[in-house]
Each structure stands twice: as C-alpha cells, then as structure tokens.
C-alpha cells in the first residue's frame, strides 16, 4: 500500500494547491485534447502533465509510468488496428502467409491521433488523481452542484473501499492459511466464496452504518462543514491562457501528419 494512488494524493508536493484549480486545469485540458485534430497538441500536454507530476508533485516516476502502461498498451493496439481498418491508400503491407494485411495512410494517421489523445488525456487525469486528495475533490463536486445523492454515495464509497479492502485481505489470508488457494481450481472456488461473503458483509455494514448515523440525527441528508475557497483570479486567467495556447497549437499543427 506504500504507493497507492490514495496515499500519493495525500503526500505529494502539490497537495495544497487549490483543488478547484486542478479540476479546472484537468477538465479544460481534456476538452481541448479531445477536440484536437493535431497529434502534436496532445503530445505536448502529455509532456507538460508528466513534467508536473514527476518534477513538481514529486510523484515517483516508476509509479507514474506503471499507471500509464495500460494506456500505452491500449494505444499501440489502437494504432495497429486502425492502420488496417480505415482508409484505402495502402502504404505498406505485411504478409502473414495466408493473409496479407495492408496498412493505410489514413488509418495510421488516425491511429496516431487517437494514441496521442489517449496519452494526453490519461496523463491529465493522472495529474488530477495523483495530486488531489479525494477528500478535497468531494468539496469541489459539491461546489459544482452535482446531485447531492451522487456526492453522498461517492463519499461513502470512498470511505468504505478501505474498510472492505481490509476485510478482503483478512478473509483472503484466512483462506490461504487453510490452503484455499493451493491451485487454480480451489482458488476460483475460494474467490467465489470470498466475494459472496464480502457482499454479505457489505450489506451488514450498510445496516450498521444506518443505525450509527441515525444515532447522530441523520435525516437523509449529509451536511458538510467546510467549503473550499475560490482560487485567485490570476491563476484562473493563467490556466485559461494556457488552454488557449494549446488550442492555437492544435489548430496550427492540424495539417502535420506522420504519414
């Protein structure tokens, strides 16, 4: 648990930066990237986010790249897949003996664009996830006027993930002690039992929680004490200028293609 996203979010060097700014930055950047027709702007964002995460927030680079890995794997798959799926103008082909796969110019360009958007998007989201404690995000979600029920449930989910994780680990250890995971077959069986049990425990916890909350006067609505103050206008303007800058780059480079 040393390097869980949660513990990093609580200890990184940017944890005290106003979460409203981080949310604004991440959401606007994501929006710009998704609509970008150029693969250069998302890559630029990827570099900037990575820089912020590794050098400003001081998140261990190993952890960051580990979290990026799924996105990279999926992205490469997309490049290859799109390369032979779309378009008609073949630029090269691979002979697999029984079948010939042709890669098209259009498809590859499209694939690279999607790949770069993926990198950029995942890195901005990781920036938010790794630098902002969830506890602060809940305040921002409330402030953004998301439905109360949604935020209340999210809050309790966050709290109880860790309680149930503990239960899970305890039960798994108890099973392993009694050789419940000695081979694949017993593992599947034990995992099934564990999940069923965890479900029942969750249910019981829910009932107990309702009792304890009623005991403190719960009437169906969770009221919250604190609010997050608004960031200084200058920072907001800074972020908007940054987004406009990325947008301009994205428009200027929209004709540049790899193939």
């Amino acid at each position: 648990m040393k390097y869980s996203i949660d513990s990093i979010a609580f200890t990184n060097n940017l944890k005290d930066v106003n979460p409203k700014l981080k949310v604004l930055f991440s959401l606007l950047t994501l929006l710009v990237i998704v609509f970008s027709k150029s693969f250069i702007a998302p890559l630029l964002v990827f570099l900037i986010s990575s820089y912020l995460i590794i050098f400003k927030a001081k998140v261990p680079a190993k952890v960051y790249f580990y979290l990026l890995l799924p996105a990279i794997g999926f992205g490469l798959f997309t490049v290859v897949f799109m390369g032979f799926w779309y378009g008609s103008e073949k630029i090269f082909s691979i002979n697999l003996g029984f079948i010939e796969i042709g890669f098209t110019k259009e498809g590859l360009n499209q694939g690279i664009l999607v790949f770069s958007r993926m990198l950029g998007g995942v890195s901005t989201m990781l920036f938010l996830a790794l630098t902002t404690p969830m506890t602060q995000l809940f305040y921002v979600l409330r402030w953004l006027k998301l439905p109360k029920e949604f935020v209340d449930i999210a809050m309790m989910m966050y709290r109880y993930i860790f309680v149930l994780l503990d239960e899970f680990i305890t039960m798994k250890n108890a099973q392993e002690t009694r050789l419940g995971h000695k081979d694949i077959k017993t593992s599947y069986k034990s995992l099934g039992l564990l999940m069923a049990n965890l479900f029942i425990r969750t249910w019981e916890k829910g009932e107990k929680l309702f009792i304890t909350m009623s005991s403190r006067g719960y009437d169906g609505e969770i009221k919250v004490l604190k609010e997050i103050e608004n960031p200084k206008l200058i920072y907001v303007i800074g972020i908007i200028i940054f987004e406009i800058f990325i947008l301009i780059i994205s428009i200027l480079t929209s004709n540049i293609k790899v193939f």
Partner: protein
Amino acid sequence: MYMIETRDLYFSYPDGTQVLKGINLKVKKGDMVALLGPNGVGKTTLFLHFNGILKPTKGEVLVKGEPIKYNKEGLLKVRKTVGIVFQNPDDQIFAPTVAEDVAFGPLNLGLPKDEVERRVKEALKAVGLEGFENKPPHHLSGGQKKRVAIAGILAMEPEVIVLDEPTAGLDPIGASKIMKLLYDLNKKGITIIISTHDVDLVPVYADNVYVMYGGKILKEGSPKEVFSDVETIRKANLRLPRVAHLVEILNKKDKIPIEMGYTIGDVRKNLLNYIKEKC
C-alpha cells in the same frame, strides 16, 4: 429524576428471539455506570434502546424522566441528550475526513457553522486529536479511530454518553487511555454508561455496576457490592479482578486474612496494613 431509566423492558427480534427479559435500570446524573456481562447477553441491544434506535416490545425507556417519543422530533431530542459510541469505529465513521465526521452530528442538530466549527475543535482537543482534522480515517490507528468516534458524539454535547465496549480491540495502554478520557469527561459532569467484560478496569472507574446475563440484570450496586457476590459473578461467566482473585486465594488456600479489595490501590493498602500488624 434519573437520566436514563428502563421499566420492565422486554425486547424480541422479529425472528422471535427474546433478547431482553425485564430490564430495570436507573442511571443518576453524573454517574459512571458499567454494564458488565459476557458476549451475547443483550448489552448492545439494551444500549440501542437508550436513544430510541430500537423500540421495546414491552416496558418503557425514560430519558430525564420522560418516556421516549418515537416520532421524528422526539427521537432527535433524545439523540441530542443521549449519544452512543459504537463498538467498531468503522461502523460509525463514514465521512472522508476526521473533521467532517465529527461535524456530522452537530450539523444534523441544525447548529450554525461557526458553532459547529467550535465544537469540532473542542471535541478533537478533548480526545487529543488536534491536527488530525483533514486526515482520512483509513490513515488512523484503531485507538485513534475510537477517539474520532468518541469526538463525533462529544461534539453533539450530550448529557449522557453510552459506549459499547470502549476498550475492545485496543492495546493495554490504548484501553487505559480511553478509560482515563471517559473518567475526565465524567468529572466534567457527563453521565457515562459503558458496557464491558474487562473486570479489571471496572472497579477502578465505575460508580455503579450492573451485571447482566441472559437478558436480565442479575445484580446491581457499587463495584465492591457486586464483586463481593462471587457466586453471581461466576454465574454470569465473569471473574473477579486479578488482584481480588489473588486475595481470595490467599484467604482461602493460604489462610492469610488480608482484607478483600478490588483495585490495586485497595489491595496494596490492605496488604501493607496486614504486614504492619504482623511484623
């Protein structure tokens, strides 16, 4: 007038199991009362009656001399007076940060924000957790979580605090720290009711002890009165405090007539008296 009084209280769960069989209990203002009994005799069930979470099948519960009214206003009033700290703090602490969890009760009382902030600060100070405001509960130890749970009730400024097994699952130092905290709160005038089977801690702190077994109260009185009835104590699957047990053995087996005591302090005094007389 008693802070909490139960009159001939019976309770059965919907499946028919009868848990409480005629409980009569009276708690005076400012007392520290211990409910002593082994697991599964209905201590928790009884506690859930004290603030109207459960409704008795027969009999009644009076808080400050008034029977509990089981409607919205009545329950809110009772929960303002009687706070329950549950055994497992993970069942109670639900908010993502310590401060928000402690603020939950006072906010439900409809207090203004600055008052809530003051109460949160004071409650955290009282339990010795200043500076933990923005920590998430899963970064805390068991003892710290227990303290947060107590702070969450303290912040509602109840007149009675009911604690279900406050020392369960804590290490010896943690357990005596919690008991010390409860003792201090009691000195400030808060009535405290605890359930426990820790017989060694009870005589040190409690003014009044109830022994509960099989859904009934077997005995009631000061720790001295209750523990001097060894037969009842053993019938209720409990035992004497270690020091008392030692004195009992010395009396019976070794024929050394030391006067009985139930705390280390008492036994030490009696032992010194005996030694002075003999030597």
